[in-house]
């Protein structure tokens, strides 16, 4: 999972982020052109994770960051985080 988190971090530069007030919009840049047919919207927690992912983070680090920001159960956060990271893996086309 640490490798997946590192891959997500490395992909961040290839995406344009736009905060729409309630959601964070991720739009892929291909050759510096935005592909508006392929985008992902993230809720508040998803946006927090996207913004705070750092190179070298593992699951435990991210869970700690999320729990520090939001009042949530650690076990529940871990389950949700794993599902979210898998969703990002698919969207970001990470093998």
């Amino acid at each position: 999972m640490k490798q997946l988190i590192a891959s997500i971090y490395e992909k961040k530069e290839s995406y344009v982020c736009r905060n729409t007030g309630e959601e964070l919009l991720l739009i892929p840049l291909k050759d510096n052109v935005a592909d508006f047919n392929q985008y992902l919207t993230l809720n508040e927690v998803g946006a927090f994770i996207w913004d705070n992912i750092q190179l070298g983070d593992d699951e435990a680090t991210l869970v700690a960051k999320i729990c520090a920001e939001f009042e949530a159960d650690e076990t529940e956060v871990l389950t949700d985080l794993q599902a979210f990271l898998e969703k990002l893996r698919s969207f970001l086309e990470i093998q």
Binding site: V16, R18, T20, E23, L25, I27, L29, D31, N32, V33, A34, F36, N37, Y39, T41
Partner: protein, 347 residues
């Protein structure tokens, strides 16, 4: 020493000032004919009007001679007409009001070799229609001939701060300079749009005298069909393929821009946006939220080369979506869809 001539074009209410070499032939094809700025004509003095008449008379005489001379006359006729207009207009039109200046130069080989690293390449197979390079004061674009991609058509420098283009072009087969030849003008208009509240979009636009409606989508969804249906009902078609949208004094407007065929400038207020698609029955699905905005955004024309342009596009689309309803429209292409649309708009 020969001085340069000035031509003013009014496109989407932007004034473009072309500074062209007076010696030799400079041509704007038929698509530009209606876009010569009319602003100056209204402010001409009587003397200037007289001069204009004289110039036109000279041009008429020249046309007659050219007709006698044969096949090359067509190109030179449009050239002499363009330049004669520009001379009279430049007397009364201060260059200070131009939104954009375009210096037109002869010869790609005369362009300064001062560009830096490549930022973007608009590839068409192995070759590129244009390539964008970093340049000290902005960008440099190498534009190839759209019909022969291996042939360099323009080397153009865009000074972002000065809002000035310098375009170097080789003369065409007829010996004429075509500085705005496709795709140069759409590129210029695109970068102009990034400096103002404006967007270029694949869409048709119609105005029925009270409401402006835009139909946007990829090829085949019925943009032109919808424009044709509205036109048959008496509405004016602003354009059936490409529009420029501008926000002026708090309101969004749609404009046509020069195409390959002759047209005159048209504009209309924008009240409704539709994303049509073929469907067994007419269907009206008013959109909300980010999905609708993104569907609309997907049809905007992008020639950006950095994230800033994407963010700028998003700004404009979000503003449009905030003020103008965007509706997915299932369409059966008959006149009944017009009544269907009006009924739902007023509901």
């Amino acid at each position: 020493m020969m001085s340069d001539a000035r031509i003013h074009l009014k496109i989407a209410d932007f004034i473009l000032e072309l500074i062209v070499p007076e010696e030799g032939c400079f041509v704007l094809d038929g698509g530009f004919e209606g876009f010569f700025s009319e602003t100056e004509t209204e402010t001409e003095t009587e003397t200037e009007t007289e001069r204009e008449r004289e110039t036109e008379a000279e041009t008429e005489t020249e046309r007659e001679r050219e007709t006698e001379r044969g096949t090359e006359a067509e190109t030179k006729r449009s050239t002499s007409r363009s330049l004669s207009r520009s001379r009279s207009h430049s007397r009364s039109h201060s260059s200070a009001v131009a939104d954009l200046k375009i210096n037109c130069h002869v010869g790609c080989e005369n362009a300064p070799r001062t560009w830096g690293k490549e930022l973007y390449s608009a590839k068409n197979g192995e070759l590129a229609l244009w390539r964008i390079f970093d340049w000290t004061d902005g960008i440099c674009i190498h534009v190839n001939d759209s019909e022969e991609l291996s042939r360099l058509q323009h080397i153009a420098f865009y000074d972002v701060k000065q809002q000035t283009w310098s375009i170097y072009s080789d003369v065409n087969e007829s010996g004429s300079l075509e500085s705005l030849r496709y795709p140069m003008l759409p590129l210029i208009l695109y970068y102009l749009s990034t400096e103002h509240q404006a967007l270029l979009i694949h869409a048709s636009g119609v105005f029925d005298g009270s409401h402006g409606r835009l139909f946007s989508g990829f090829s085949g969804v019925g943009k032109s069909t919808m424009a044709g249906l509205w036109q048959a009902s008496g509405a004016e078609v602003i354009n059936d393929d490409r529009l420029m949208l501008r926000k002026i004094d708090g309101h969004w407007w749609m404009y046509n821009t020069p195409m390959y065929y002759s047209d005159v400038p048209k504009k209309a207020p924008l009240h409704f946006i539709y994303l049509p698609y073929h469907h067994p029955s007419n269907l009206y699905e008013r959109g909300t939220g980010i999905q609708t905005s993104m569907r609309f955004m997907a049809h905007c024309i992008q020639h950006g080369y950095k994230e800033k342009h994407v963010q700028w596009h998003l700004d404009q689309v979000m503003d449009i979506a905030k003020h103008i309803p965007i509706t997915r429209l299932g369409v059966v292409p008959t006149t009944e869809v017009l009544t269907f649309i009006k009924e739902h708009e007023s509901a």
